[in-house]
Symmetry: C2
């Protein structure tokens, strides 16, 4: 095994096949532009290191890892004063040939550690050969992430023990890391490393790969050469949990898996879970256990999906709201259930993954890092969203809203940042809606309603056709039309409002039942039939109320922060699993978000998960967000008298008082009218229920 | 609960009962001699701190802990220019009265934190009020230990949370530690601390006691005031294990408990245990499990004995030979079974106690520290013996021998130190001896044999009378005479040799059977009947051989080191549980130790355990021994050709070639004679058996 991955050492002399052109060779590296002159016979990797060029290597120049691949650029580079020719590098030697035949290399690529400078050359370092390669993000406006994880792999050749100069095997490994990789500050090794060390050294014939954390602690050892290291970015939402298994060496997400948060059975929203703990001693431990079990399950699933071995998972970064944070860490969340909402800690929590009950789900040396919570009601998920969206770097006033069962809201710019949370409930995620469902094939996600006929047309997830297309029945044959997802609910409500079916106060106008059979009575209120079939999909008055309550809570929280800053938003970022498919125009028509130029509203999906991934891949970002958090002003909506006022105004569509001038430039909103039927009293009844939750 | 231990805060103003004599007061502290002048009204504790006087306090001057007790010395101290009078301190206030009535104080004692300077005084700080109090050792020649443990307790009053300035409970604890105790570098808290923190703060009404490790990590928190902190010094011998539960605040051993090492059932000596692992895959894990279980049991027993709560055990320091070291840590010891005897590590191992399977046996935040092994065949027990006996500080050539199933031998002085180990087997601990037993009441420990009549007299442990005293039967009525302990065996063999019963070659002289019925045939050899009764206690030829083999191995190892240095020992220290009762003269007569002036031979008992206790109580000693170890030259007896030669010579009593001039000055040794009977062939038969073990 070790033999397969081990190659003969680099030749000391020059290759006989090629002769140096000159005693000294100039080399220019691109894209960095770094350049220097070296004695003929110097390897490209040695030259790169001497010049501080960002050229990767895991095996330390032994022709095993293939990380130092580079390409000679042929031609006359007059601006560098260099005539770069192919034969200015030594020919392919046995080591390189061996690597090439085993692993393959792109045309023109050379191993930097085996290629010697014989004359002047220009060497291009492709992005994948850079240590600090950057992960390209989908959206151009957000900065890239530089890969700089907490755990790195080092291949070393270790001296054998000598009875006459006794030393521990571990100490010889440390010496090798020092001599071969210049790692000086090594403090110790985890106990499991000590337990497996002697066997690994002998199995690997004194060649091993070492996983080192912060260049200080040895956390794992593999016999021979090993180049797999993964981490998991974990987002624990009140309703859903997700795990993004990520390659720590190139930043790629190799598997993304999700599941419902099993704590739902103890209470749908956060406060009901805290109540459960207050009423049931030990209830916190039950909830801790189930959420940890599910995390373990998700890690296993992600590993299976991407064929990643458990021992190659070396780090976990977690985010979640304060109550999820406490419950995952095994801290009773009771104090978060009442004023003054005291967190156990507002610093990041750094522990072993095994302390989260993840034995057997990660490497025994894996560590877990929980991002810091911002305040007792603004969680590590908000911190992650800030890390991902970077409002702290912007000039324009930016509103970042992370929609979940609890909405986390951040507002401000590089001068000043405020944060709060608002209890929206799970309606925006499709829960508590009569035909609501998670975003999955068969769910209605786009809706249009004809203003004259009040007839609907819609599209479902997984189908490209609108429902008024004659081929539509064929496209949904496999999935059926099963319900409405979060973005579908926003659209149907906004369209019903634009068509005059729903009044500004959120009443389904029963008088229109005379005009269309889509409007049908249901008890004392009316419903709108969106799809006739099995199941029949309706929008009920209760659905409308649930969305109104959710969007009003969200808007009121945002408005509170806008009040404090005293300037309207110039940019709005809508985050959350919910937010990834939403049409931001409809969100604004409903008054979910405040008025703002529509082209400055973006929907970014799971920004909390992205923030967790940034913290996983780049350790400096952890210090950065920690520092930013200390500057964030925390607003507690529960004690702000204006919150209730904003909430009442925001119950109207889009809003009772806010004029929404930017929106009106793009969309013609209906004039306020009074419904001729329907039951306004319903509103107060629902509100009572909500408080009782 | 918290209320009981919490006192009202210190008054800010002066006591009304007493008026200051002057605006400024001179204070002289004894024994340090530190002095200064302070504004009247300054407390004695404040003055002590300002002057850097070593005056303890756990509660931070709140009159709760009573650690700052001191005493005013009345009189005219002309050398200080101070007239010290009782009324130059403020009177006993309510806080001090309360402490006095609850806890009691010696006459004349005052609480330094409550006593204010009103005029010039001389204040004596008794030893128990010093932070860096020294543990007085029994023997004057060994330096004292300054108490400076890794874990310290701090009582703090923590700010309550404020919703408008949200911060974590932990962060407010850290602020309190910083402000009230000047602890700045705090890095984090263990997860169990986070889990219990919020409850403890509220239960203690924002007053808690914090256990801080290295002033960096919070490892435990108690509500209210708490002043108990213990550590365990653990010595894992091949045959026996011992735990010394020690008060980390005053260095006192509160309980010492011991047990047989349960690994004995896998093999009596070290090599047979390694063989067991080689023959039985997974055998190392079995042995790890049983030794950890026994350690857990001993910790529980020690806690019960001293009424120490499990959560008050905050640290464990372990020592043992390399194989015990590996097996306790869960490291396969196979590599220690063959050349080059590679240790997994030769650095100290710092882990959590829970990683040794000690959950529930110590505080969840307890750490374990295993002293470093010196080499693959010289263990952490030898390191501990060096720490305890300090040959590295001495001018005279010192031989330190730690007798156990494996003897660890250190030789040298402050210029140069050598170490080796030698496989003595368990005979010197009373095992493999026909009537051998552990040192316990009823065991024969002292023996004299009349050179004329060959009649013995002896004393047993627990009795003051010799067996020829007519009251002797009465004194042993309760215990009986049950066997011979290690020191008894040494004495009886040496006395038999002096009386001519045992020849220089170790043969029980059968010809003397004609002279006394104490000498009886047993197969082809003879035995000496030491005690007639139930059980009958004999010294058999096999017993003599077992002791010869053991002492020869020990002597040969020592001689090897003496050869290397080229100078004879000027001082001999005999350590080991065995060594604590031994009469060093008899040890030398037998040739267990090399010749040396008899008054320079000391028997010091369990020096390895003492070394462990030093490392437990004084963290600097850990760095010290670590550094000393790097300087020790390690000698591997197995590959030293002269070892076998020395061994053969040392089989004779006291030795075939060494003249023992110092011994001969004090004791008349018999002239060599040949036994007229007995079986010399026995020797080689035993040797074969020994090798087969």
């Amino acid at each position: 095994m070790a033999d397969q991955d081990t190659a003969p050492a680099n030749d000391d002399g020059l290759d006989t096949a090629t002769e140096p052109v000159a005693a000294e060779a100039k080399v220019v590296f691109t894209p960095s532009g770094k350049r220097g002159a070296f004695a003929a016979g110097t390897t490209v990797l040695e030259a790169a290191r001497a010049l501080g060029v960002d050229l990767d290597s895991v095996c330390g120049g032994r022709g095993i890892c293939g990380r130092c691949q580079c390409k000679l650029s042929e031609g006359d580079f007059s601006k560098f004063g260099v005539k770069s020719k192919t034969d200015h590098l030594s020919g392919v030697n046995a080591v390189e040939e061996r690597y090439k035949s085993k692993r393959g290399m792109k045309d023109g690529r050379r191993l930097g550690c085996q290629s010697k400078l014989l004359g002047d050359v220009v060497i291009d370092v492709p992005e994948e050969s850079q240590v600090h390669k950057q992960v390209v993000r989908k959206r151009a406006e957000v900065r890239n992430i530089e890969i700089d994880p907490a755990v790195r792999l080092y291949y070393v050749e270790v001296a054998e023990p000598d009875m006459h100069h006794p030393s521990g095997d571990l100490e010889r490994v440390m010496t090798a890391l020092n001599e071969q990789w210049d790692i000086t500050g090594l403090e110790r090794a985890d106990l499991p490393v000590l337990q497996s060390l002697q066997k690994a050294l002998r199995e690997g014939e004194w060649k091993i790969t070492v996983a080192v954390r912060w260049d200080k602690k040895i956390v794992h050892i593999w016999p021979g050469f090993h180049d797999k290291a993964f981490g998991a970015a974990v987002d624990i939402g009140s309703t859903t949990m997700s795990v993004h298994l990520t390659d720590l060496q190139n930043g790629e997400v190799v598997a993304s898996v999700g599941a419902m948060n099993p704590q739902i059975r103890f209470g749908e929203d956060l406060m009901s879970r805290v109540s459960y703990v207050m009423m049931n001693p030990g209830g916190d431990q039950e909830m801790t256990q189930v959420v940890r079990e599910t995390l373990g399950y998700l890690l296993s699933q992600a590993g299976l999906e991407a064929s990643v071995d458990v021992t190659d998972i070396l780090e976990i970064v977690l985010v979640g709201n304060p109550i999820m944070h406490h419950l995952m860490l095994g801290i009773d969340p009771t104090e978060l259930g009442w004023a003054p909402f005291a967190l156990a800690t507002n610093q990041p929590v750094r522990i072993r993954a095994s302390e989260l009950g993840l034995e057997g789900k990660t490497n025994p040396g894996a560590r877990a890092y929980f991002l810091p919570c911002v305040a007792g009601h603004v969680g590590a998920d908000a911190a992650a969203v800030v890390l991902s969206e970077g409002p702290q770097y912007r000039d324009e006033m930016t509103l970042v809203v992370d929609v979940g069962t609890n909405a986390e809201i951040v507002y401000g710019n590089k001068e000043r940042l405020l944060a709060c949370s608002s209890p929206t409930g799970p309606a925006l995620e499709g829960a508590q809606i009569s035909s609501g469902q998670r975003a999955a094939p068969g769910a209605i996600e786009r809706v249009r309603i004809d203003k004259e006929t009040l007839e609907p047309r819609f599209r479902v997830i997984g189908g490209d056709l609108w429902s008024d297309n004659e081929a539509f029945p064929e496209t949904v044959k496999r999935t059926g039309v099963t319900g409405i997802c979060g973005s579908g609910i926003i659209e149907v409500m906004a369209e019903l409002y634009l068509a005059g079916v729903i009044t500004r106060d959120g009443i389904i106008d029963g008088s229109l039942a005379a005009k269309t059979d889509r409007i049908v009575p249901e008890g004392r209120t009316f419903s709108y039939v969106l799809h006739r079939g099995e199941p029949e999909i309706r929008v009920t008055q209760a659905d409308v109320r649930a969305i109104q309550l959710a969007k009003a809570a969200l808007y009121a929280g945002a408005q509170l922060l806008i009040d404090k800053i005293g300037k309207p938003p110039e940019r709005v970022v809508l985050a959350g699993a919910f937010g990834s498919h939403i049409d931001t125009k409809y969100a604004m028509i409903l008054g979910l978000i405040p008025d703002c130029p529509l082209d400055m509203v973006a929907s970014v999906g799971n920004a909390a998960g992205t923030g967790a991934r940034i913290a996983l891949l780049n350790v400096k970002s952890r210090d950065e967000i920690r520092e930013v958090i200390t500057r964030i002003e925390k607003i507690e909506t529960a004690v702000e008298p204006r919150f209730q006022e904003h909430f009442v105004d925001a119950m109207a569509i889009p809003n009772k008082t806010a004029p929404f001038p930017n929106l009106r430039k793009e969309v013609e909103l209906p004039e306020p009218k009074q419904a001729t039927d329907g039951d306004g009293g319903d509103d107060s009844r629902r509100r009572r229920r909500r408080r009782a939750q």
